[in-house]
Symmetry: C2
Subunit: 472 residues, 2 copies
């Protein structure tokens, strides 16, 4: 079996770069660094992920909108912390044709400052609330660090939900809903994750608080896939988003946002893949089942007929299936579809024809099973679910094995993964731990975070656990 040049467990980063290109997800040779071309296979996969997000949004009564990409400088500058946080990483448009623009425009790094002047017009009374919107768009950030496909790019395929509520408590309920959405979505993507309440000094620019969604990559580094923000009235004040309440008063809305990006693909590739290529979770696989006719001249037609009729049944059952009829050896077809991460391969040859069976091969385990043709559809549907479960369970075990809750730094310093240490609440102490562990502060667990041990730096009583990790 041909394998990747770089091995996943030896040089994860190089292995990652290699399979992203080999499997035709994207092309990094575009002449602007960090702006990659989505190739058909990668774009389909991304679209399937988007579709899962859309379903979650529609189930929770969010409306899909689409706002302009460009933001006038004056709109952008209304919220001070926000501009401080993003000012150094936005792209500026200064000219149109040969003319200099009267006011500079920027490419959205995120859409608060595009949306909120409009929300201010849309919301009049309590009857307009809650306002729950989302969009899936391209956003732009001027990254100076090394770029990496899906993980650190400059044009970002981005999901953002923006909601407005009557008061803080209603906005808090939205955060609860957002957490459920994350649980549903990442279960389908077979990506176990942790919520972290980001520390004050690392929350979203302008937010009251930020909860991040982090996964653990096989390299031992965490990757932030998304975040949920409580804004309180931090933006609604400068952007004048108010409503008239039942009793005739004018109040500021409280707002939340929810962001996720193409990093989800980075996690799918990195966490599930192996040295043969991608392993795509069935729910988002562009091809869920590939059928390979094992052709021998005298049985050709019968085998192909069998394949076609199976294909039809699979499609009728809403399974994304394909037959590979190319004129190359079955072995080459196996390698090709293994590289592409197709969850199930089916082989039908002359022997199978005789026995009225098909051979089902799982991409994740390599297991081969012969199944009677007549019971194949039910078997395949169940097997797709089993693959999802196994991908999730394996990743969950890896995540849990690599979270270390410890009382002192010494025992933590040789661990690779996520370290939890007692924290007194002081930024200085967390930063000293960052230095010692050569990692970043991820944030507090949002559950089970009570801690009665002393802070390992200042020895004062800690009130919570704090997480540290190396991060992408």
């Amino acid at each position: 079996m041909p394998e990747t040049k770089n091995k996943k467990d030896q040089d994860f980063n190089e292995w990652y770069n290699e399979i992203v290109e080999l499997s035709d997800l994207c092309d990094k040779r575009y002449p602007i660094k960090g702006m990659n071309v989505w190739r058909p296979y990668g774009w389909k996969l991304m679209n399937h992920v988007d579709q899962l997000i859309r379903e979650e949004m529609l189930n929770t009564f969010h409306d899909e909108v689409n706002f302009p990409l460009l933001i006038p400088e004056s709109s952008f500058k209304k919220e001070e912390e926000h501009i401080e946080g993003f000012g150094s990483e936005v792209y500026w448009i200064t000219h149109a044709g040969l003319n200099q623009l009267e006011e500079k425009w920027l490419l959205r790094p995120t859409s608060e400052t595009a949306m909120y002047p409009m929300f201010s017009l849309w919301i009049r009374s309590h009857a307009d609330l809650p306002l729950k919107t989302f969009q899936i768009v391209n956003t732009f950030r001027y990254e100076t660090k090394q770029t990496r496909a899906f993980i650190r790019v400059r044009e970002i395929h981005f999901f953002e939900a923006h909601t407005c509520h009557k008061n803080f408590d209603e906005a808090e309920k939205q955060i609860q809903e957002d957490k459920k959405i994350a649980n549903n979505l990442f279960k389908k993507l077979c990506l176990p994750f942790i919520f972290c309440k980001r520390p004050e000094w690392d929350k979203f620019a302008g937010a009251f608080y930020t909860i991040s969604i982090d996964v653990l990559m096989p390299s031992g580094k965490t990757l932030q896939l998304g975040s949920i923000h409580q804004y309180k009235d931090n933006f609604s004040k400068p952007y004048d988003i108010t409503y008239e309440s039942e009793d005739g008063k004018h109040n500021n809305c409280h707002q939340t946002t929810y962001g996720m990006s193409e990093r989800i693909l980075g996690a799918l590739v990195g966490i599930h893949g192996d040295n043969k290529g991608l392993i795509i979770p069935p729910k988002v696989a562009p091809v869920q089942v590939i059928i390979i006719p094992i052709i021998f001249k005298d049985k050709d037609k019968e085998i192909i007929d069998n394949c076609e009729s199976l294909l039809k049944q699979l499609i009728d059952n809403n399974i994304r299936a394909k037959i590979d009829k190319r004129d190359i050896t079955p072995g080459n077809k196996y390698y090709h579809w293994e590289l592409k991460g197709v969850p199930i391969r089916i082989e039908i040859g002359p022997k199978d024809l005789e026995k009225k069976q098909i051979v089902v091969v799982r991409r994740d385990t390599g297991e081969k099973t012969s199944i009677l043709y007549t019971s194949s559809i039910g078997y395949i549907i169940k097997e797709l679910d089993k693959i999802s479960e196994k991908l999730y369970d394996d990743a969950k075990i890896f995540l849990q094995k690599n979270i270390y809750r410890m009382k002192d730094i010494e025992s933590a310093s040789n661990k690779k993964g996520i370290i939890e240490l007692p924290w007194c609440g002081e930024e200085n102490c967390a930063q000293e731990i960052e230095n010692i562990l050569d990692g970043n502060t991820l944030g507090e667990p949002i559950e089970n975070n009570l801690c009665e041990h002393p802070c390992p730096i200042c020895n004062k009583k800690a009130t919570t656990w704090m997480r540290y990790a190396k991060s992408y």
Copy 2:
């Protein structure tokens, strides 16, 4: 019945502006002129149109890709005519954060110059051909003329297909396929159109020839919805897109493109709407059937139950249906959904309950029909088709009635619509006719275009008919 302030047949342009906003398709109050906010209803409608385009593309084996938005100046400048054509209407990015960029980047006005450097890498041998790709993206043009929702905007929701072939003849076959795609697509959108071969001086910058897809708006002006271009090897030479043929020679590819934009929505609104609002063709209507319970207290539950069970049956038959249970009068609901252009309204009241029937009301004709509950699904499916046919037929009659083929300018000058006059082939003569008619040269018909009359300007023998019209 409440009607629009502006009447469609009296002041089409104002009527158009009014219903675009009233029906919540988009919001034009965004602080950059010509960059509008897609509201949920408009975005859903646009997405349904995109989906029809996608189906046509997939049926003809085009792969969906997604290229970066930004194009380096050096890539853009490789094809001379192209930069001449687009140079004055592109937006330039000069700064990232506080840094000046080493090379300026522009926002794509169309993606030739983004894609072709990559095609040059992707195509090696004849086995890589044909390459058939498309994308649906946001593009940008610095419009100086007055903007109008969907019709003339600066951020454009855009479809573009790009193909590469072995030679001119293969590219010509693609053009034939493109024409079929246009016929399929615009039939579903109930938009009869004409193909015009654009004159030399008005073809796409860099093309060998351009065929436009034009519709006639009720104002008598034409609106170009798309275009199909034969590039020959005009781009493949500067961008070095070559392949090795079966006999080992290196040849330049021949290329075609196919572009369409959100103008399709402009045409849907303008051609089908009336003084009550939109009339959306069933194939793309976000809501195809709205069910309105006519509630009287003692029959409430039974009526709602009936509505719900009908809803379920409609959804099971892949019909996009909804029940309006809001606490407002049925009359107000009627106005609301008429404004939104929902093709079919269903009313179920106590009398209908007794007679085991439902009332079906067509948005296009206003016709009301009572149908037995048990045969309602079949009836509704047929009725949706009939609405499509009628919308198409009405627009076709209007188009045909307003194409005037005439021998001399005098008889043409009082006509509103599309004028066809003999043409000798000289640009000067066409431009003089433009001046006299106060219109634009649309282009030659691509069929039935033989003409044996003299040119009305220079009196030389004409070889073809040429079309003129006022245009958006």
